[in-house]
Symmetry: C2
Subunit: 233 residues, 2 copies
DNA sequence: TGATATCAACTTCCATGGAAGATGCAATGG
DNA sequence: CCATTGCATCTTCCATGGAAGTTGATATCA
């Protein structure tokens, strides 16, 4: 299974303390154990994780590189918040990258792209089931699986990595907005269009379908966040 | 204006030793002072830069994050080479990102996009002049300026950052292929199309023009590298 | 002569201590 | 009572030393 590049650099050997600290801190941020704006110190985190400050410091540098935290000299490590403008930026990247990924997948040899189309169709079916059952968590997981298969199908490590980084940042926004959006059925229809274009091997159609899917989500999400008066999350 | 996380961390205060080491190492890689495959040790670089091993180590972690070097656990720091397949990956990202950037610029208010169109037209004119004079270095600089203005015009810190990272990786390939490519006049014509679409405010046309410009370069560059038998550079 | 085993010389990784600096609180002066 | 100054505390940043591990050469034996 493909991992992020940082993980890939260490994938063939046992995880170092830096990797442990990185994973633990990222998990804490994802699950909001460290809320946005929370200010920690390397010393405190090191104590909690049972290691010294050095690996914690290096891990926080990596997290800063990914935009999840900010290291303020002489102050500490602060967890970054996401403003609506950040969401706009992120979606502009996703629109571009995922559109291209869908195009590349649709240009694959027939056998390859049909296998991917099958996997995508399965995830879409899972979304329908979850929607019918009103299970938003399952819906979110199936949706994530769909987009992961789509991205990895493009077989481009840099694309995979960019999307991985962005997904880490988006995770909190996703969780929050999942239960506020009303256009879930539309997403299922969008996914169907993408799958169809990939199955028939029509790169231009796949590109357009993936683009408009993300553009629509962006157009719905940002006003929603602004209406809620969420200056950050 | 929002900056990237790493730039923000270093933009408003004097550069730390880590930043010095980072800049020095990146420059050395760009200018091939450290050739691909070259294997250094943190101790040696630290000695050369007049600092201790810690800032060198942290800088090399950042460079590893950007894919410029690889830290092999008990061996040393090796400078990454670029295979033709890396070039393919990079161009797939550029095609997607720069196409979207052009689209976003063309959707700006008239005054903004005209100012950007003027700057882009100026760079294109510089390219014509340099081409007529046979000055490949000036041509490359003007070309780089064009694409930089285009990307920064999109006003998206994440897009800027992604392209910056990719350009760092591409620099050696650019320098090498600049004097091997025969389609320089076509690039000038492509740029003219992009500028025109931005000036008239036609996002779809700008998107298509920027896309096909990069797609054409990709289609010409990869066979060129493979024909030369360059397994890495 | 060729193959193997041992060792010495490197490397990164991590812990820890000192230095420089920012912040917030307390004490003091108006 | 409020403002200001000084100090104690806490932070990151960087240097350095020890530990673990890999590599390549050298010496030894069949």
């Amino acid at each position: 299974m493909a991992r992020t590049a940082s993980a890939a650099a260490t994938s063939d050997r046992r995880p170092s303390l830096v990797d442990d600290a990185y994973a633990a801190m990222k998990e804490a941020i994802r699950e909001s154990t460290f809320a946005p704006g929370y200010q920690a110190s390397a010393q405190e985190i090191a104590l909690r994780l049972g290691m010294s400050r050095t690996p914690v410091h290096e891990a926080s540098l990596k997290l800063q590189e990914e935009g999840l935290v900010r290291i303020v000299p002489k102050r500490g490590i602060v967890i970054c918040a996401l403003a609506p403008d950040d969401i706009r930026e992120i979606y502009d990247v996703i629109v571009a990258i995922e559109g291209r990924a869908a195009e590349l997948v649709a240009a694959l040899p027939a056998a390859d792209r049909e296998a991917i189309a099958d996997a995508l169709a399965a995830s879409t079916a899972d979304m329908e089931t979850a929607f019918a059952a009103g299970d938003l968590t399952a819906w979110g997981q199936a949706d994530a699986a769909f987009h992961r298969v789509l991205i990895e199908g493009a077989r481009n490590g840099r694309i995979t990595r960019i999307v991985q980084t962005i997904n880490d940042q988006m995770h909190r926004a996703r969780m929050l907005t999942l239960r506020l959006r009303g256009e879930l059925p539309q997403s299922i229809a969008d996914h169907g269009l993408i799958v169809g274009a990939i199955r028939t091997g029509d790169p231009a159609a796949a590109h357009a379908a993936a683009r408009s899917h993300r553009l629509r989500t962006q157009r719905e999400l940002i006003p929603l966040l602004e209406k809620l008066g969420l200056k950050h999350l």
